[in-house]
């Protein structure tokens, strides 16, 4: 049953980063993503891409934490995007309105093209 979230980070340019997730985005997983994201933002990251390619399950508490991250990033004048969502996760994001605040890209290649990382 274990599917604990693991996060890895890839800095791109001076203001960009891709954050890869693996596993279940529940409250604990959401908090882990938030901790990493806020650290990156403190380090000057203004373009953050969350690549969820190895995440197959989310819950609404985890997603609510992602909304907090998006809000903080917008407050700072930055941009946050998502890519490699499963169809069900993308549907969940639509329901919860994430698509209004953050861009959703098919894959990392498209994301980097549309959200250049200086």
């Amino acid at each position: 049953m274990t599917d604990e979230l693991k996060v890895s980070i890839d800095r791109r340019g001076t203001e960009g980063a891709v954050l890869y997730t693996r596993g279940y985005i529940n409250n604990v997983g959401g908090e882990e993503i938030a901790t990493c994201a806020y650290k990156l933002m403190d380090d000057g990251v203004t373009r953050l891409l969350l690549n969820l390619r190895e995440t197959k399950i989310v819950n609404s508490i985890g997603i609510s934490i992602l909304i907090e991250i998006i809000e903080k990033m917008i407050d700072k004048g930055g941009q946050l995007g998502f890519c490699n969502l499963t169809p069900v996760i993308e549907k969940t994001f639509q329901i919860m309105g994430l698509a209004q605040y953050a861009k959703i890209y098919v894959d990392e290649k498209v994301a980097i093209e549309q959200m250049p990382m200086p």
Partner: protein, 142 residues
């Protein structure tokens, strides 16, 4: 369909962290046996997860258990039909009032669980009282 032992599945789960994953996996295994497609199973899994989390987070029940029942059957039009009941013996809530649809993407952070359940399942009805809550939901195959 297989023999009756496989058609029905009853579980009583403890309210421990991430138990919703066990519930979703068990239902997924059942639905897969009967040929439900991966994406529908995944939608069902996400609905089950939200219903179990609601029971754990909101029910405040003394017995600290979640009761699940899954039945796989064939609907009159020949499609696979999975019925799911997720129950708790908790304090209940006003399910009718909660049902009022909210506009997608209004800025609340929490409070999306029931809408996610509705969106991922084909039928949902909730019976709730001071004795507890029963969420009954149905997912059809192709």
């Amino acid at each position: 369909m297989r023999d009756t032992a496989e058609k029905e599945l009853e579980l009583t789960l403890p309210m421990v962290p991430d138990i919703e994953i066990a519930a979703a996996r068990a239902a997924g295994n059942l639905a897969r046996q009967y040929g439900m497609g991966a994406e529908k199973i995944d939608e069902m899994a996400h609905a089950i997860i939200e219903a179990c989390i609601n029971a754990r987070e909101h029910a405040y029940c003394a017995d600290k258990r979640i009761y699940l029942r899954f039945i796989a059957g064939i609907s009159p039009d020949g499609r696979l039909r999975i019925d799911i009941w997720i129950s708790d013996h908790g304090k209940g809530f006003d399910a009718e009032a909660r049902k009022r649809p909210r506009s997608t993407g209004s800025p609340q952070r929490r409070g999306w669980g029931l809408q996610i359940i509705e969106a991922h399942m084909d039928e949902v009805d909730i019976a709730s009282s001071g004795e507890g809550t029963i969420v009954h939901m149905v997912k059809f195959g192709d």
